[in-house]
């Protein structure tokens, strides 16, 4: 062991020498020569160049393009980086790109953007302009020509409300540091519609090239590259053909309606028909086949930053608010389109029977309250009728009675679970809550109940007289014909009629069918029809479908609108609705299921200030059905003025 001790000393000495060498070198590098290293580190730096990801495209159900990308040569100006003589520089630039300097100036001064953001001032410039500017870079600090990928719309303004638009990221977006954390100041962001809803899929991920540069800003070497990942494509349930038909029918219908003089309005006059919506939905899947909203706009207006003219057309006082999607973003009283749901609720709770008969007098008075008279839409006494007939001719007084019966149930048990039977049944159909459709800013409408009314009376004491502030018989009676405080969106009505059509299933409606990754894998979206099933028997739902099929037949409220329509080939079940909305003209509704006995489509039309349901909405739906089934169109028909 003695020897090995001395040999271990040899090992220890070798190791000690190693440490001596390392420590000496470390001292030299970190203490003696540190200053020069620090300078050298300061002289070199990394420059990151971001490469844009191509935004995902949007296709219809048969993969026909709705939104694509194309390259536009843009001249961009960064206000912060302009020459000291900015005015002179902009004048020279104005000469080259042929845009008045005043316009460039105005664009740059816009408060929508920060000064460090490169602001596009000219789009689709000539290659010559691009070459000139890149060859004279020194004369134009802060000016660059960029090949930008911009949105292209092969079908013009079709489905504008569904697609939405993209615009350069706004100051408001940038302020939202959570959602737009990874965005740069020149990024395009979906600002409405699917472009907004699916922003995180469409955006893709930017690439990044990293360069080592020296103090002269020269690139020494490329250090690495993270390639850009293109955004995902959206494949919709929307069908371009159905969409074209729906948009055409809505536009034609509104134009036609504006030529109708309606005596029954207060005051009588030409119908204003200032807005409207059409939805075509597949009741078996919840897929939206078409969604039209009027007035409309063109998403390509945002491709080259919104011009003054276009801004006035979409935001101006007389623009009619075309950006609003009337199918989902506004809610209206549903009128008589509500009656099938009331009938089902009344039957389920034992207030009505589909085998019984009910009187249909011209007036209804709630027992004990002779001061309030509820009128039927006609002054004729229509005798004693079945629920089917009550739906066919849309007898209000039959439903007043059902509403009153619901009120009695409430009155008998104000705090119990029977207190809001009617509201609960309507909410089961999806009313009063957002449908969770995949389009942004959906409104939920309102199913009023005693709690809501008490709160409303508290918040708005000026609206309701003191004796009107509690829940009254009239609240239930009005709701039974889709009047009063109740409001719904056309999309909610489409979901509810789909449930009648598909045997009682509530669908989550969806515009996007699936999402396709750049590498080809597909992901379905979360729209389906098997979540909730309503508490109605198939026989009950079939009874309603059959009853509604008589609405378009002789004697029904939509018989005039469907006169001459080949119902024997394509039977149509439908319901008219006329909702009063003083001081405005009536809201016109029509909800349809085709073919009536095995529905493939649920079609909803709504025309604001469009008069009776049969006047404007029913003819629009007829025109849509004619288009979908290739039936010779008779043009816009006169629907008469029944309900």
């Amino acid at each position: 062991m003695e020897k090995s001790t001395s040999r271990l000393k040899v090992l220890a000495i070798l190791v000690a020498l190693m440490f001596a060498a390392l420590t000496t070198r470390l001292w030299f590098l970190q203490v003696l020569a540190s200053a020069s290293a620090t300078t050298d580190v300061g002289r070199q730096s990394a420059r990151f160049v971001e490469t844009d990801a191509t935004r995902g495209r949007i296709f219809d159900d048969r993969h026909r393009p709705l939104v694509l990308n194309r390259i536009s040569l843009e001249v961009r100006v960064t206000k912060d980086q302009l020459d000291d003589d900015a005015e002179g520089e902009l004048l020279r630039l104005s000469d080259i790109i042929g845009i008045p300097v005043r316009e460039i100036r105005e664009g740059l001064d816009s408060t929508d953007y920060y000064d460090y953001q490169a602001k596009p001032v000219a789009y689709d410039v000539d290659k010559d302009v691009s070459f000139y500017l890149s060859e004279h870079k020194d004369e134009f600090p802060g000016v660059e020509v960029v090949p930008a990928a911009v949105r292209e719309y092969p079908n013009g303004n079709m489905a504008a409300h569904v697609l939405g638009w993209v615009g350069q990221i706004t100051a408001d977006n940038i302020a939202d540091t959570k959602r737009f954390k990874d965005y740069g100041p020149n990024d395009l962001v979906g600002q409405a519609g699917l472009e907004r809803q699916y922003e995180r899929f469409l955006q893709g991920r930017k690439g990044r090239q990293k360069y080592l540069i020296n103090s002269n800003q020269e690139i020494v070497r490329q250090l690495g590259e993270v390639p850009a990942v293109p955004g995902d494509d959206l494949v919709l349930s929307l069908d371009i053909d159905a969409q074209r038909i729906a948009e055409q029918a809505l536009a034609d219908g509104i134009e036609h309606t504006r030529g109708i003089y309606d005596e029954s309005q207060d005051p009588p006059g030409y119908l204003k028909a200032n807005s409207g919506a059409v939805i075509v939905m597949d009741p078996t899947t919840g897929g939206i086949k078409a969604l039209a909203s009027w007035p409309t706009f063109d998403p390509s207006w945002w491709v080259q930053d919104l011009s003054k003219k276009h801004a006035a057309m979409v935001y101006g006082d007389n623009s009619g608010a075309p950006l609003l999607n009337r199918a989902t973003q506004l809610s209206f009283a549903p009128g008589s389109t509500f009656k099938p749901f009331i009938a089902l609720a009344a039957e389920q709770h034992g207030l009505a029977s589909f085998s019984d008969y009910y009187p249909c007098p011209p007036e209804y008075i709630y027992p004990g309250d002779t001061t309030t008279v509820f009128h039927n839409w006609t002054t004729a006494n229509l005798g004693t009728i079945s629920v089917e007939q009550a739906l066919k001719i849309s007898c209000d007084t039959v439903f007043y009675q059902f509403g009153a019966d619901f009120y009695d149930r409430y009155n008998a048990d104000r705090l119990g679970k029977d207190a809001t039977l009617l509201q609960d049944s309507l909410r089961q159909f999806g009313f009063g809550a957002a449908t969770k459709l995949d389009l942004p800013l959906e409104t939920s409408g309102l199913i009023p109940d005693p709690t809501w009314k008490a709160q409303f009376a508290k918040d708005h004491p000026e609206v309701l007289l003191p004796d009107e502030q509690s829940w009254l018989p009239g609240d239930d009676i009005q709701m039974a014909i889709g009047q009063g405080f109740v409001t719904i969106t056309p999309m909610q009505l489409a979901v509810a009629y789909s449930a009648i059509a598909n045997g009682g299933k509530i669908c989550r409606p969806h515009v996007v069918d699936h999402i396709e990754d750049p590498d080809g894998t597909t992901r379905p979206v979360t729209g389906h029809c098997n979540k909730r099933t309503l508490p109605y028997t198939q026989a009950e739902l079939e009874y309603i479908r059959n009853a509604l099929a008589t609405v378009t037949q002789s004697g029904g409220t939509a018989s005039t609108a469907f006169a001459g329509f080949p119902l024997s080939e394509v039977p149509v079940a439908g319901k008219t609705g006329t909702a009063q909305r003083p001081p405005f003209q009536d809201t016109s509704w029509f909800a349809a299921m085709v073919p009536a006995y095995d529905p493939q489509y649920v079609i909803i039309a709504m025309v604001e200030q469009g008069g009776h349901g049969s006047t404007s909405a029913a003819p629009i739906v007829r025109q849509v059905i004619e288009g979908l089934y290739g039936i010779d169109s008779s043009g816009v028909v006169d629907g008469g003025a029944t309900d």
Binding site: L11, V15, R25, L26, W27, Q30, S34, A37, T38, Q44
Partner: protein, 380 residues
């Protein structure tokens, strides 16, 4: 139970009571420095890729847990057990080194065939070859009839060492080959090999290496990497870049460093392979001379304890095992830090316990386990 002067030493002599706390603390400190440095050098790059910035740290911790388990297992079994099975362990390792060369079994990266891909883990047999060689040589030399190895013994040692060395060298992995050489030399010196035998060995090695260059067994890129520190101005671009950036990072650290996560070179990812071979640059830049010297001191403590354990061992096998481990830690530390500081060639040797990497981590913990084992059972 031993009885000395009528007293029972049973309790005192239970091996578990004789762990080496200094060794354990030094090892723990080095692994913590490693985790901090790995996070510092990788989190930013991972954030850019929208990946979990902790992913490397998490993987290293997983390796660490496995390493500690191995350390405990190795320390529990009496080290003389390994002497009995040294031949078997050696043969298994040589087999693994051969298998890793076979296409379809071993995996290739950067032109080198080095590891097995197994259940998501990379297993690098050359890391375990170090341990196997230590055990094999210690077993051979502890069974000599003479007090010191004679020429035939030295030749036998050379042949036994040459097999794994050549297999590792042709992978090619020059770094590990250097470590294997250092292990052989370290154990031979401690075993009492005569100076003239050692010198003859050195001469033979020089001839063999020269021959290897002549026959182009060594690839061009390896020559470039090996020689760039001798001629920094004319070396190949990438190698010079690695070396320059590493030195700048160390130099920029100064006396006290830029502070944790504040290193410019580290944050901008200028130093290549920073979480593995060049991890010392993170310490150098962010903790300065003070931090770097502290890490060197931890290594000094580690190696001192290894040599001390070699000295305390009750039998030659334990002495040689500990000496082999000491040589292994010392050469790895010296070549790695020397490379970062520009005084040694660039040869991918990881810094023990600090660099990111699973197999090396496991091999180092096994080595530490062997040291503890010898220390715990030092009483006759």
């Amino acid at each position: 139970m031993d009885l000395v002067a009528g007293r029972s030493f049973a309790n005192e002599r239970r091996p578990i009571r004789h762990l080496d706390p200094v060794l354990l603390i030094a090892t723990a400190c080095l692994t913590i420095v490693g985790l901090l440095s790995i996070y510092s050098s990788t989190h930013r790059g991972l954030e850019v890729l929208h990946e979990d910035p902790m992913i490397y740290v998490k993987k290293q911790v997983a390796g660490l847990i496995l390493g500690i388990l191995l350390l405990l297992i190795i320390a529990t079994v009496d080290y003389r057990f390994f002497k009995v099975y040294a031949g078997f362990i050696y043969a298994a390792t040589v087999l693994a080194l051969i298998l890793v060369r076979l296409p379809g079994i071993g995996s290739t990266a950067n032109g080198a065939q080095r590891w097995f891909q197994f259940a998501g883990f990379q297993i690098t047999p050359s890391e375990f070859a170090k341990i196997a060689l230590i055990l094999m040589l210690a077993a051979m030399l502890s069974e000599l009839r003479t007090t010191e190895p004679m020429l035939p013994d030295v030749l036998r040692v050379c042949i036994v060492s040459a097999v794994p060395m050549i297999l590792v060298f042709i992978q090619p992995d020059i770094g590990t080959t250097i470590v294997l050489v250092a292990i052989v030399v370290g154990i031979l010196v401690v075993a009492g090999t005569r100076l003239r035998h050692l010198l003859a060995l050195a001469a033979a090695s020089v001839v063999l290496v020269a021959l290897a260059f002549q026959l182009h067994v060594i690839r061009d890129y390896q020559i470039a990497r090996l020689t760039s520190f001798l001629d920094p101005q004319n070396s190949e671009d990438v190698t010079k870049y690695n070396r320059d950036q590493a030195e700048l990072a160390i130099g920029a650290g100064g006396l006290f460093g830029s502070g944790y996560l504040n290193g410019v070179q580290t944050n901008l990812d200028f130093v290549p392979e920073q979480h593995t071979d060049f991890i010392f640059t993170v310490v150098g830049e962010e903790f300065g001379f003070v931090g770097a010297a502290f890490v060197l001191m931890l290594f000094a403590i580690l190696i001192w304890r290894a040599i001390r354990i070699s000295y305390l061992s009750k039998d030659p096998f334990g002495t040689y095992v500990a000496a082999g481990v000491a040589s292994m830690f010392a050469i790895q530390m010296f070549v790695n830090v020397g490379m970062v500081l520009g005084i040694m060639p660039i040869t991918g040797i990881p810094l023990p316990f600090v660099s990111y990497g699973g197999s090396a981590m496991l091999a180092n913990f096994i080595a530490a386990g062997l040291l503890l084992n010898v220390h715990m059972r030092r009483f006759k």
